[in-house]
């Protein structure tokens, strides 16, 4: 029943793409499109939630698609969870969208195009999750890519955006072809393109490794793991903010969904080598993602790099789950999978919250660069508050949701002792240490972002004219912030309701979950480890209240005096004496120097810049060492190939002449 509900959601999303066309007045059209999008989000979220909780797997065959391969659709717990995630976030974004699009003053034609492609983009994501055969999966996958390409190239006035869009679509296409090959390998042997045929096909081990390799590159390119991540930090900032919230928060998760579906469901047997590769690549993505995020001064680019980091964490959880599954400990494999899925939900929530907040800030102040921001908390209190909640959650600090998923991944890693080979055990331990380093660096990064953007004095006048955003934007951020808090406080409820997924995929859930009350999350056993999330919040409130009441008598007696901040007697401190973005990250830049491609120089003083200029550019090694040479190779081979078109007719005739001679010689 609710599979049809999910299809209704898809239909509504497609309707929201088509609806604004006939409407003459732009604002009405945009509002109509976003309300339809919101409705589609709610229906799909509901259908996904019920699908996940029920634990059953529904299947239906639609008459569209190839004549002999009609498009199969399914809804099982895994698909249900991701449908819930996509639907929920798109519903919240549709609350944020209208006021953002209208007040950012886009002209009618591009506003209509924006609404069309947003609808197609969301519909594409739903269809990817619902698809149950290779063909409809690929059609939906690339519909999602193409629609988001148009969104990234939305304001195509600047060349930077169109270049980003081009790189994005090129890598999405390459990734899509890898995935197609992965499905081809599975279908080739199982000679059936439906997922059920692929599941039943038993592949030879080396074919399984090839299929895994192809799928890992394909889905990894779309998820943005390290060597294949270069498109992400350019594409997400180029798109309008509510779209980059959707792309970063949800589209990357659809790629993770595809990877989980491919490895757990379609291939079936998991090898420990896969676990090691995924774990190590996850570690690399997490570490490099956060280190690069620390060095960015463009707010949205920073958030994009931090998406890479979170995807790395998710892949670490999956890697651990692979390791445990291959060494025959399904309960711990289930724990790893649950930790990764939990982090998917958390990242979807706090990353879209941060992007929406960034969108509000950029729209009001018109500035992308952190060095131009400052003191926004006073001018935009609610956005600031929600942004703070987002920063705390992403830095994995206790009362909020980021901490729970990171804690679960630590618990999975700590159970590494169950693995038999010592080498893997020590590597898992080092990976856990890397995760801790990443967590701390993320906290550093988001202290920097919040401290420079929202606290301190305003660094440019544009900040002073920004004021609080409209109701719709405020409510959507508040909803997401509340979601982050609730997911942080009631982890037991969430983990218990997600149990159906590992049961469906791995055959076993967490056995110790049912024992204790909702007060404590004890994934392995009561004795092993426990995290009483609600009691933590309750304890902090009690202690805060106690301290407050204890000091109350003092408060009445001594009044509070305001005076300028301590300036060592040099005189009034202007906003320029504050720590800027690059100075905040300077210690870490010095310590981890080889990670980046730094060119830092000071230009001698010139008439207009009397004090000289300090120029810092942070390059990405992957881009310089991998992609630029690749581009050069193609250009050179194109130059060689173009020699064939020399222009002289006699040479052309000579080609034809020698072809016939060679062919004759071959044949006889």
């Amino acid at each position: 029943m609710y599979l049809h509900l999910a299809h209704l959601g898809v239909l509504l999303a497609l309707l929201s793409a088509v609806a604004p066309l006939p409407v003459r007045h732009v604002n009405v059209g945009v509002r109509l499109a976003f309300t339809l999008l919101g409705l589609s989000g709610l229906t799909s979220a509901y259908a996904g939630g019920v699908g996940m909780l029920s634990g059953a797997s529904l299947h239906v065959v639609l008459p569209i698609g190839l004549p002999w391969l009609h498009s199969h659709q399914h809804l099982d717990p895994l698909a249900g969870l991701f449908l819930l995630l996509v639907g929920g976030v798109s519903a919240v974004v549709s609350l944020y969208g209208p006021s953002y699009v209208i007040s950012s003053g886009t002209d009618s034609a591009s506003a209509r195009a924006l609404a069309i492609f947003t609808g197609l983009f969301v519909a594409g994501m739903y269809l990817v999750i619902l698809a149950a055969d290779a063909f409809s999966f690929m059609v939906a996958w690339e519909l999602m890519s193409v629609a988001s390409y148009f969104l990234v190239a939305h304001d195509h006035a600047q060349k930077k955006n169109t270049d980003a869009a081009f790189l994005y679509l090129l890598m999405a296409q390459a990734g899509g072809l890898f995935i197609l090959l992965g499905f081809g390998v599975l279908a080739g042997i199982g000679d059936g393109f439906t997922f059920s045929a692929m599941q039943s096909a038993s592949l030879a081990p080396h074919w399984e490794h090839i299929a895994f390799g192809l799928a890992f590159i394909g889905f990894g390119m779309k998820a943005g793991i390290v060597p294949l991540h270069v498109w992400l930090p350019q594409a997400h900032p180029a798109a309008p903010s509510h779209i980059s919230a959707l792309m970063s928060g949800v589209m990357l998760k659809v790629a993770v969904y595809g990877f989980i579906r491919f490895c757990y469901d379609l291939v079936g047997t998991l090898h420990w080598q896969w676990g090691m590769i995924v774990l190590l690549v996850g570690c690399a993505s997490a570490l490099l993602g956060v280190l690069y995020a620390l060095m960015q001064h463009d707010l949205k680019q920073l958030l994009a790099y931090s998406s890479i980091e979170n995807i790395g964490i998710i892949f670490m959880g999956l890697g651990l789950s692979f390791l445990f599954a291959s060494s025959g400990v399904p309960t711990l494999a289930a724990l790893g999978l649950l930790a990764a899925l939990y982090h998917c939900i958390n990242h979807a929530l706090f990353k879209s919250l941060l992007f929406l907040g960034a969108g509000a800030v950029i729209q009001q102040s018109g500035r992308h660069d952190l060095n131009h921001m400052g003191g926004l908390l006073r001018l935009m209190p609610i956005t600031g508050g929600c942004f703070l909640v987002g920063c705390i959650s992403i830095s994995a600090l206790p009362p909020f949701n980021g901490f729970v998923s990171e804690w679960l991944i630590f618990q999975t890693a700590l159970q590494g002792a169950e693995l038999e080979s010592g080498v893997i055990k020590s590597l898992v331990a080092v990976a856990a240490a890397a995760l801790a380093l990443t967590g701390a660096l993320v906290a550093a990064c988001f202290v920097k972002v919040f401290g420079i953007a929202f606290l301190g004095k305003a660094r440019t006048e544009d900040m002073l004219r920004s004021h609080e955003v409209s109701a719709g934007m405020k409510w959507s951020q508040a909803l997401l912030a509340l979601g982050c808090l609730l997911l942080g406080i009631f982890p037991t409820f969430i983990v218990k309701s997600m149990q159906t997924i590992p049961i469906a995929l791995l055959g076993s859930g967490l056995d110790s979950m049912g024992a204790n009350t909702w007060l404590r999350l004890t994934p392995i056993s009561i004795r092993a480890s426990s995290y009483g999330a609600p009691m933590v919040l309750f304890g902090i409130c009690i202690a805060w209240l106690g301290a407050y009441i204890l000091l109350h008598p003092r408060r009445r007696k001594t009044k509070v005096r305001f005076s300028p901040a301590w300036d060592c007697g040099f005189g009034p401190l202007g906003p320029r004496t504050q720590y800027t973005d690059s100075s905040f990250s300077q210690p870490i830049r010095r310590i981890f120097r080889p990670v980046w491609h730094i060119d830092e120089r000071v230009e001698p003083p010139t008439p207009e810049a009397r004090g000289g200029r300090y120029i810092l550019h942070i390059g990405d090694w992957a881009w310089d060492k991998l992609y630029v040479p690749l581009g050069r190779v193609i250009q050179r081979s194109a130059k060689i190939a173009s020699k064939i078109q020399g222009g002289n007719i006699r040479i052309y005739l000579a080609y034809s002449f020698f072809t016939i001679i060679v062919m004759l010689w071959i044949v006889t």
């Binding site: 801790a436 606290l455 304890g539 305001f562 010095r590």
Partner: protein
């Protein structure tokens, strides 16, 4: 129900004991340097004085600046309720395991750094930047040492860790020695003691923790001072009870509690002496030599883990 009361008593007792420990360390350090240092209970007087003094705030301090002292103290108090100081088996122990404790300290540090940057002066920014850098270098080493311990204890809950060493026969584990040393180095870094940061000085270029609470005054400063003292106490208790838990009360009887308290006081005094000696021997390092100090801690914990995997697992 009386277990909850016992937990509350333990927390308040630790709150009261914290200033005494830092006073004791300062007193021992002065004795070593043959100076007539202040009496050990001098911090109590300072806190009382601060409580009474008038509070001065910066002009455009945001609500975060005013809320941070309360948040930092409440989080540290919650952490202290979780640590098994005098007895194990308290209900509060189930709230958090070691990783959540690390999370509490990270939350406190997060807000403190934000408060530092809120004023918009260079000191706050510098303090925040250095604090966050040092802590991010310390965290992997701390976690790896906890990882090594949990491989043997097969749990990360402090109660079950302590219970394990008490019930098992005495056994010298090389991995414990390495991770113990590593935890000591990390504790000095986290609490901002001498080799990394000098708590006594307000010299602009060297202070880290002090730079963050530079703008605080009156009761806010009192709260923050109490919180940092409590944090040092928690680290002291954590290290002693993890490696030398004998004497801690297993069952909540009056006699065992008394022995537990007494043994806790003795152990704290001893670790105070160790800290004082190390502070007077070592000098404060330049900021960019701190990474070497912390990578030493990381190497120690790594050795601990490897020795556990290679030597101790059959």
């Amino acid at each position: 129900m009386n277990a909850w009361i016992l937990a509350l008593v333990q927390t308040t007792l630790l709150l009261l004991l914290a200033p005494l420990l830092s006073g004791w360390v300062k007193w021992v350090k002065c004795k070593l340097q043959s100076r007539r240092g202040p009496v050990p209970w001098q911090p109590y007087r300072d806190l009382a004085k601060l409580m009474r003094k008038e509070m001065v705030l910066a002009e455009h301090a945001s609500p975060i600046f005013r809320a941070t002292p309360y948040i930092v103290l409440s989080v540290t108090a919650l952490a202290s309720s979780v640590v098994p100081a005098f007895a194990i088996g308290l209900p509060t122990a189930a709230i958090a395991d070691v990783i959540v404790m690390v999370g509490f300290f990270a939350l406190a540090r997060f807000f403190l750094s934000l408060a530092g940057m809120d004023i918009g002066t260079a000191f706050g920014g510098m303090g925040a930047s250095r604090e966050v850098t040092i802590s991010s270098l310390a965290e992997p080493a701390m976690l790896l040492s906890i990882f090594t311990l949990s491989m043997t204890f097969d749990s990360t809950n402090l109660d079950s860790m302590v219970h394990f060493t008490l019930t098992q026969p005495f056994h010298i584990y090389p991995s414990f020695i390495f991770s113990g040393l590593s935890l000591l180095l990390i504790a000095t870094a986290e609490c901002g003691r001498i080799p990394i940061d000098n708590p006594a000085t307000h010299l602009e270029l060297t202070m880290m923790h002090e730079a963050l609470i530079l703008e605080y005054s009156g009761r806010h400063l009192a709260l923050l001072e109490l919180a940092s003292m409590l944090k040092m106490l928690i680290f002291g208790v954590l290290i002693t009870n993890l490696f030398v838990p004998w004497g801690i009360a297993l069952a909540p009887g009056v006699a065992s509690l008394a022995i537990g308290t007494l043994s806790m006081l003795v152990k704290l005094m001893l670790i105070g002496v160790v800290l004082a000696v190390s502070e007077s021997v070592l000098a404060k390092m330049r900021l960019f030599r701190a990474p070497e100090f912390l990578s030493l801690a990381f190497v120690l914990s790594l050795l601990g883990m490897l020795s556990h995997v290679i030597l101790e697992v059959h």
